[in-house]
Symmetry: C2
Subunit: 390 residues, 2 copies
């Protein structure tokens, strides 16, 4: 176990009645509110009306920034920053999934930074304060509601950049599993893959003696794997939706990373993929993660991949060699993804090898020539993984 600091100050209100806490939260931070959301889904499920009615009751002044898209764009962030500055916004409230929340995160930091908000993603500049941020979550996936992460894409060059900082923790997040009842199965599936990836990126580490965090992560993975089929069969099963939603929130709140070094190569590899092809992040991860596993297996990954297979997918300890156990674990992971209706190869998505060099180069270059910590990957390794994913 390595030294760490753990601090997650986000207040979580979870459950059927969680929206009742919105009032006390708005009163805590201020009544000049910027509402950030995507498209029609929060209106379709009635959440928009509920939120507006609470804000109106409070006498809050509300500015609206709708139209957030998947892989959220820098241009909308700029627009939100201007709205905050022009109107003296006191609280930014994101309603939706990770894209709405990440847009809002970039806004609350950018509004307190004097330069170009993109600087915060390139490391050229930093802020020390933010506007208060609250979230109401409708998609269990990104875990942004309790995470220090934020990922934004600059449209002009399809450059997708993440920023991890304690400044990104929301002040509060409201999670009601009922809001996820009407999620299309595809979006539920992509969310499940993303949630599992947030756990697995941390799980696959070369840091030894991390039994507690290993076991917490294994238990959380099993929970998601057990409950996903239930919500596919019964989309309005509250308890299964609740398990996935709470698991998804904890998956990215940095607890499972304590005392260890995460890997994150699969996320980086996928970011290049979805930046170019606009494939959903979770759908991309379902393709990349198994390929990454197959590639790292003979390069130092055998022991941990076998542990994963045994403890998460119940591969018997006497199944075979460590390598055979690990491969069976990967096979079961792929089968699980496919049971969610997802694909596990690029060609099924009409994606060929034509951009592999460019993607691999950009991926490796981002981290100064290598990506990942479980196994350090250079551009050639990245390309080989894309090839395994074909």
């Amino acid at each position: 176990m390595i030294d760490f600091t753990f601090h997650n100050p986000t207040r979580i209100h979870f459950g059927k009645d969680s929206l009742s806490h919105l009032k006390e939260e708005v009163l805590r931070y201020g009544k000049r509110v910027l509402l950030v959301y995507g498209g029609g889904s929060i209106k379709r499920i009635g959440l928009y009306d509920q939120v507006m009615s609470i804000l109106n009751e409070l006498g809050a002044t509300v500015w609206e920034l709708g139209g957030v898209q998947p892989n959220p764009r820098l241009s909308l962030v700029y627009k939100g920053i201007d709205m905050c500055r022009e109107n003296g916004v006191e609280l930014v409230l994101a309603v939706g999934g990770g894209s709405a929340i990440d847009t809002a995160k970039a806004i609350v930091s950018g509004a307190c930074y004097d330069g170009d908000a993109w600087d915060l993603f390139t490391g050229k500049g930093t802020n020390t304060e933010t506007l208060p941020l609250g979230t109401i979550v409708t998609i269990p996936a990104a875990g942004s509601e309790m995470s220090n992460s934020c990922v934004i894409t600059r449209e002009e060059d399809q450059c997708k950049r993440g920023r991890n900082t304690p400044l990104n923790f929301p002040c509060f997040s409201i999670l009601n599993p009922e809001y996820t009842y009407s999620l299309p199965p595809y979006q539920t599936a992509c969310g499940v893959v993303d949630i599992m990836a947030h756990m697995m990126e941390r799980y696959f580490t070369q840091v030894e003696n991390v039994e507690l965090t290993d076991r917490l992560t294994e238990g959380a993975l099993r929970t998601v794997i057990n409950n996903a089929p239930i919500v596919f069969e019964k989309p309005e099963d509250y308890d299964a939706r609740a398990e996935i939603m709470w698991a998804g929130c904890l998956a990215h709140n940095t607890l499972y990373q304590t005392g260890r070094v995460g890997d994150w190569a699969s996320h980086k590899l996928e970011h290049e993929l979805s930046a170019l092809y606009d494939i959903a992040h979770g759908a991309g991860l379902a393709i990349i993660f198994p390929a990454w596993m197959k590639y790292t297996l003979p390069r130092g990954g055998e022991k941990k991949l076998a542990q994963f297979a045994i403890r998460v997918f119940d591969v018997p300890e006497d199944f075979g060699t460590l390598e055979e156990i690990a491969l069976e674990g990967i096979r079961r992971l792929e089968a699980f993804y496919r049971s969610l209706g997802l694909t596990t190869t690029l060609h099924e998505n009409g994606i060929g090898a034509e951009d592999f060099d460019r993607m691999a180069d950009r991926c490796a270059a981002m981290m100064g020539g290598s990506v990942g910590f479980f196994v350090k990957l250079n551009a050639a390794d990245c390309k080989a993984i894309y090839e395994l994913a074909l």
Copy 2:
């Protein structure tokens, strides 16, 4: 799963170099520091000198409140409150185990309350603010370093009362597993029992569909059970000490309680025991918890106790009936406690039945006639559990 709010703002600095964060923390809160600690152990391991040297380097003014005893006393709390008020203390720093931390918690609240600090424990009064509190942990057991709990004993009538409030979360806690190397085996054992009890009190619930928190707790219990024998054999095994210390901190930070109702009868039963007999809290729990399990098993506890046996102690699913599986789990728990050098019966501690009526009455009366939620216990039930523990 039931609705919940989860919020734990304590900043944790964990590891070999964690004390290096003390400086930044003191600068954050103020240089007028009240140091709260027990007896000689923090001096013996050199921690007192290290802390004083950092505080002196900063030019801090330090007042000292030593002499904290196990089952910490109200009189010392009063003394600390007076010291804070007389000297304009800006930060209370507890160095030690749960007793030092709980004393400090009662002080930081009491100093911001105009009446008798005992009111805060009887519910007669409440505070809305506290002085800032930091902790440096030397005993993994109470989990007070990241909990909302505080337990204080009023000496004059041996009345032991707990208070759970978000005001009790420390601002920061520093945990270095090396500080626990020289803990006597008995204290290590009592700590392990206490840590496990904090998990099990939450685990045993009648709330259904709590798979995530069940699995997190089971993983944490297994980790403690696996690492305890290692530290008995090799007291300076850093990694095993670290697993127990981090598990002990998370055990009581309220995460494992999210979405469920905890039981806490065993803690209440034990508090009456240790209030009268001054037995160590962990040693008392090793006696009470198995007796409580045996009593609740035929009264609605069968299913969960069997799950505990299977998932935590590897009792095979085909071992027998649910009842037999559960009983085997209890047997393995007792065997584990005994492997730590602890006893699991009252008579081994020279305690007879003479005070059972008084203890049972006080225990049940505290909660308006019944104690516990897994199975609601009245005074007669409490007495029967004490009898099972004989």
